[in-house]
């Protein structure tokens, strides 16, 4: 008789080790159909980033198509490099087990998928809010920047922070906004993909990167891209 069967179920559950949430990137590569859709949809990141960096205050001009697209492609390249680095670091902590289908290549793939999906999902609401700002402007409703940055600035203004200090904190406000967009994207994508998941988790589930790590990387990437676009 095993010890486990004498232990009540509630106690068994309480002994289960806490697992950090993982970003459900495996859906994109579970079959050729979804992989094809993902590969095409991936490039939406380029126009989304172009729109954001050419419409944020102090950003690039709309005519700077080549610099803006180059910046976006550089961001994609950085995602690939960061994915390799992250997978390699994860392999040091927990060695891949090829017998279970867990390979270093697979982990890199998961990181690339996770970062690309999350980055695009983070830029989407920013781009939509900037687009909405253009429509609102025609009706004299003024938003100074994307919706999160504007809200943060108004919050600081509302609690009495003076204008000079707010101007000096512009980079940090933008960084906080990037974190909000990134983690909102992580939560939204995780919820959507988990709801749409059919059947048990595939073999690739163990290779998925941590959701918090993905959010942090995307937030830093977004901050860096927006900062580069606004440098004088």
């Amino acid at each position: 008789m095993s010890m486990g069967s004498d232990i009540p179920a509630r106690t068994r559950l309480s002994r289960r080790r806490f697992a950090w949430p993982r970003f459900p990137a495996r859906w994109a590569v579970e079959n050729t159909g979804t992989e094809s859709i993902f590969a095409r949809g991936l490039w939406l990141l380029v126009p989304l980033q172009y729109y954001v960096v050419t419409h944020i205050p102090h950003g690039l001009s709309g005519d700077d198509l080549i610099p803006a697209v180059t910046l976006s492609l550089m961001a994609v390249a950085v995602i690939f490099v960061l994915s390799c680095a992250a997978a390699w670091l994860a392999a040091i902590v927990k060695r891949p087990d090829p017998a279970l289908g867990d390979t270093l290549t697979g982990r890199v793939r998961m990181w690339v998928v996770a970062l690309m999906i999350c980055t695009a999902a983070a830029y989407l609401p920013a781009a939509l809010s900037l687009f909405g700002r253009q429509i609102a402007l025609a009706h004299d409703i003024v938003l100074y920047g994307d919706i999160v940055t504007d809200a943060l600035t108004r919050l600081l203004d509302g609690v009495g922070v003076d204008r000079e200090t707010i101007r000096a904190l512009a980079f940090w406000i933008q960084a906080v906004a990037s974190f909000v967009y990134a983690f909102t994207a992580v939560i939204a994508v995780t919820l959507v993909l988990r709801r749409s998941r059919r059947g048990p988790a595939g073999a690739a589930a163990g290779q998925e990167p941590g959701a918090i790590s993905v959010g942090l990387v995307v937030a830093c990437l977004m901050t860096a891209v927006n900062y580069a676009a606004t440098m004088d």
Binding site: H55, I56, P57, H58, G59, L60, S61, G62, D63, D64, I66, P67, T70, L71, R133, Q134, L137, A138, H139, D140, V142, L143, Y144, T153, R163, R167, A228, A229, T230, M231, D232
Partner: protein, 291 residues
């Protein structure tokens, strides 16, 4: 009394203390003269006054000399423009926008714009002073100014310009309703009213680095000084307002006393009667500066 005032002014001059020209004093003198149009006011002890002819009118107590701009005018950093427009009905508030663009022989590439609008009460803000730049004036990047007033999808509102420069005015004049001076619904294309002529958006550092061919936007603007000001007048006396003389508005020289040689200042003055914008005079006013 007059001798005492002159002695005091001489003492101040010897001590190297600059005495700013007082708008109220100058406008008072202009009204007494029955003046109209554009005038230049020089500080009382300006070296430029020696080059002026006898047509100048000096006020020792006020500490300034007034002259109507001629063909060539001596330049002084402390000089200030004054404009006496046509009388306005007492039922209306007087709102003017003044834009100047200055070219110099030894300087170009203005990448900042001098913006001025005082912290004042207006008919649309009778109890609360308007939010303003510290001291009523500030420099903003030209790109930000262009973005704030750009048309269509290029428009990017800038907080400092929207809240510390633009403000609400009555529309229609004398009526209870108010509109913002940067309202796109009322004014449409703001760049037609407020935009600097022949001044393009400067490329950001990243764009300059990643551009593979040079563009027109990479060339510096031919202007050395750019300014944009609002004048607000709501008193029984005939209107009169002052605005800044030429200033270099390039980042490296902001607020510094440099030996620059302006040769032409072009001035656009527009009256805003609610959403109706009319240019004062047939076209821009050109003021040439002597070498």
């Amino acid at each position: 009394m007059r001798q005492a005032a002159i002695s005091t002014l001489l003492l101040l001059q010897l001590c190297g203390t600059a005495r700013a020209i007082d708008d109220a004093g100058v406008c008072g003198d202009l009204r007494n003269m029955g003046a109209s149009g554009l005038y230049l006011a020089y500080p009382f002890f300006s070296p430029a006054l020696a080059k002026l002819d006898a047509s100048k009118t000096c006020d020792a107590v006020g500490g300034f000399c007034l002259v109507k701009p001629g063909r060539l005018n001596p330049f002084d950093d402390g000089a200030r423009f004054y404009f006496v427009p046509a009388a306005i009905p007492r039922t209306e508030e007087g709102v003017w926008h003044i834009r100047t663009q200055t070219q110099a022989r030894n300087l170009d590439g203005a990448d900042q714009a001098y913006l001025a609008r005082g912290a004042i009460n207006t008919r649309c803000s009778p109890t609360q002073l308007l939010e303003s730049f510290p001291g009523g004036a500030s420099y903003v990047p030209v790109n930000d100014y262009i973005d704030h007033h750009a048309a269509g999808s290029d428009a990017r509102p800038i907080r400092e310009i929207g809240q510390q420069f633009h403000f609400e005015i009555q529309d229609p004049p004398g009526g209870p309703a108010c509109i913002r001076t940067d309202s796109r619904r009322a004014f449409g294309d703001l760049s037609r009213i407020y935009g600097f002529a022949d001044v393009a958006r400067r490329q950001k550092r990243l764009a300059r680095f990643l551009s593979f061919v040079g563009t027109a936007a990479a060339a510096p603007t031919p202007y050395a000084g750019l300014s944009s000001e609002f004048a607000y007048y709501d008193r029984p006396e005939p209107p009169c307002f002052g605005f800044a003389g030429p200033k270099p508005t390039r980042t490296e020289y902001l607020g510094e006393s440099i030996d620059w040689k302006p040769y032409l200042t072009t001035i656009w003055i527009k009256r805003l009667r609610g959403r109706e914008v009319t240019s004062v005079g047939p076209g821009p006013i050109s003021v040439s500066w002597a070498p």
